[in-house]
Structures are given as C-alpha cells and as structure tokens.
C-alpha cells in the first residue's frame, strides 16, 4: 500500500516536473523569432545568426532538461522507494 502511494505520487511528480518545459519553449520560440527577423533584415549574416541562435537555444534549454532529468529519475531510478 505504502509502495503504491509512493509510486503514484512519483508519477504525478514526474508529470508536474515537466511543466518546466513551458519556459524553454517560450524562450526558444522568442529567440528563433528574433533570429529570423534579423536574418530577414540582413540575409548575408545568416551563418553567424544561426550559429549564435543554436548556442543560445541550447543554453535556454538547460532548465527544461533539468526537469526532464528529474522526471526520468522519478520514473526509472526512484530514490524514494528505497526509503520505505
């Protein structure tokens, strides 16, 4: 019974953790939109703009990835089960 409660709550927690995907989604969309604007204004700078954008997007992604890691840990390597 205890195990079932812990497992269920871990699944809910994993789902809640992935709400953090909202932030990087908005941020990356904004970054890509701005990059497209600047490429449209100055098409010859496409290479530089795209390269810088990818690094920025990767940086913005880290918070989403952290939440993904927490969700994965809760689902596949649950540390709470061992505490019962």
């Amino acid at each position: 019974m205890e195990k079932a409660i812990v497992l269920g709550c871990s699944a809910i927690g994993a789902g809640l953790a992935m709400i953090a995907g909202l932030g990087p989604g908005i941020g990356e969309g904004y970054a890509v939109g701005k990059t497209i604007e600047s490429i449209a204004r100055q098409p010859e700078a496409q290479g530089d703009c795209t390269r810088t954008m990818f690094i920025g997007v990767a940086m913005a992604e880290s918070t989403g990835i952290y939440s993904l890691i927490i969700a994965l840990v809760l689902l596949f390597a649950n540390p709470l089960i061992k505490k019962l």
Binding site: R51, F54, I55, A58, S62, I65, Y66, I69, L72, F76
Partner: protein, 241 residues
C-alpha cells in the same frame, strides 16, 4: 526503458561492469579510426579523389569553426574538437542501427564534460595564476564565494545533462511510440506471427518520421553544441579576468 545492459564483468576491484555503452563506444572509436584512415589514404597535392575532397571539407569545417569561436591562437584545439564532434556525433547516430546510443548514458557525457572542466580550470590558472584563480572566487565580495563555486560546477553539469537529457529523452519517446504502435497493431489485428518473429504492421514506417528528428537532428545539433560550448568556455577562460 532500462539502463545499459552489462555485457561482461572484469574480476578486479570487486568486479568492474563493462556495459553496452562501453562496448558500443569501442566500436565507435574503431569506426572513427577506420574512416579517418580511409579518408586520409593516398593524399595528393591536388585532390581528385572523392574521399580526399570529403576529408578536406571536414577538416576545413572544423578549422573554420575553431577559428571563429576561439581565434587563431587556439588552432591547436582543432584535433580535439574534431575528435569530440566525431565521437559524440557517431555515438548518437548508432541509434539508427538499432543499438543503444553511447551518449544516452550519463557516464559518457560526464566524462566528456569533465575533460572540458579540466581544460577550463587549466586555462584559468594559466592566465591568472594560482592566486588569481583562487581570488576570482571571492569577486566581487567574499560573501559570494559559494555562488561562484556553484556556477563553476554548473558548467560541466549542465553540459553533460543537456546532451544526456536530449539523447535519452529522444530514445525514451521513440521506445514509447514503438510500444504504443505495437499495442495499436494488436488492437487492429494487424500483428502477424511467423514462428518466433512478430511483425506489427503499424510499427512500419511511422517511427521513421520521428527518428529523423530525435536521432538525426538532435544527435547532430547536440554534438555541435557540445563542441561549441567547449570552445566558447575554454576561450573565455583564457581571457584575462
């Protein structure tokens, strides 16, 4: 999804487990070696073979990237960056062959990020001196030292987690899709059994679209971003603070 399977155990230090990741990593290293040997065989001054033109394209790409991101003074980093790019790229792309991605294991990415961390620390000490390096933790005031230490550790941590999270998340989503499609083809009575071999008709072709994104696109982008962040961080560490 389970972790990487243990292939065999070396009986020292109470049993060293050699996992799937390590064995596939050896194959990736072997493939990189063979490809490099093939591409650089029979070099001529004026290239007229296809493989030499391809090799010059690859080397030129890496040289250009290093020159743009780090400047002329770090050109000796190009071989390391090329090795990093090739290993992480092929390590991610082996999932196209149905093998487990080498980079879908936190151990691989942490090892690669630790090398970057050592390089960053080395260049910081080299430019500012040992005392300057220690003093940089107390800037702007000594009270912020814990935060500075955390931000120092966060660089390799975020680099390794980013690569691992992207590749592992992609493979989890793909395997979930396979399971869902298997269940769907059972429900639609499109699942055929030939002896021990089972064919789920819905599983054909559909995952290929997702595979292009999760295996090809993510693998290439993450390899590039990892190499790029290494270059940016190292060249930033070499600037005087």
């Amino acid at each position: 999804m389970d972790g990487p399977k243990v292939v065999f155990t070396i009986p020292i230090f109470g049993g060293l487990d050699i996992t799937e990741t390590v064995v596939i990593g050896w194959f990736v290293i072997l493939i990189v070696l063979l490809v490099s040997l093939y591409l650089t065989s029979g070099l001529r001054k004026i290239p007229n073979t296809k493989h030499q033109i391809l090799a010059e394209m690859l080397v030129g790409f890496v040289n250009n990237t290093v020159k743009k991101a780090m400047g002329e003074r770090f050109m000796y980093f190009a071989p390391y960056i090329a090795a990093l790019l090739l290993y992480s790229l092929l390590g991610s792309l082996v999932s196209l062959l149905g093998l487990r991605s080498v980079t879908a294991d936190l151990n691989t990415t942490v090892a690669m990020a630790l090398v970057t961390f050592v390089l960053i620390t080395y260049f910081k000490i080299k430019t500012n001196g040992m005392w300057g390096y220690i003093k940089s933790f107390g800037s702007p005031i000594v009270l912020l030292a814990p935060l500075n230490i955390i931000s120092e550790i966060a660089t390799p941590l975020s680099m390794s987690f980013r690569m691992f999270g992207n590749i592992a998340g992609g493979s989890i989503i793909t395997s979930l899709l396979y399971m869902a499609l298997g269940a769907a083809s059972k429900a639609l009575h499109l699942s055929f059994t030939f002896g021990s071999f089972r064919l789920d008709a819905v599983q054909l072709f559909t995952p290929a679209v997702l595979s292009i994104y999760f295996d090809l696109f993510t693998g290439c982008i993450q390899a590039y971003i990892f190499a790029m962040l290494t270059m940016v961080n190292v060249s930033m560490a070499a600037d005087k603070s």
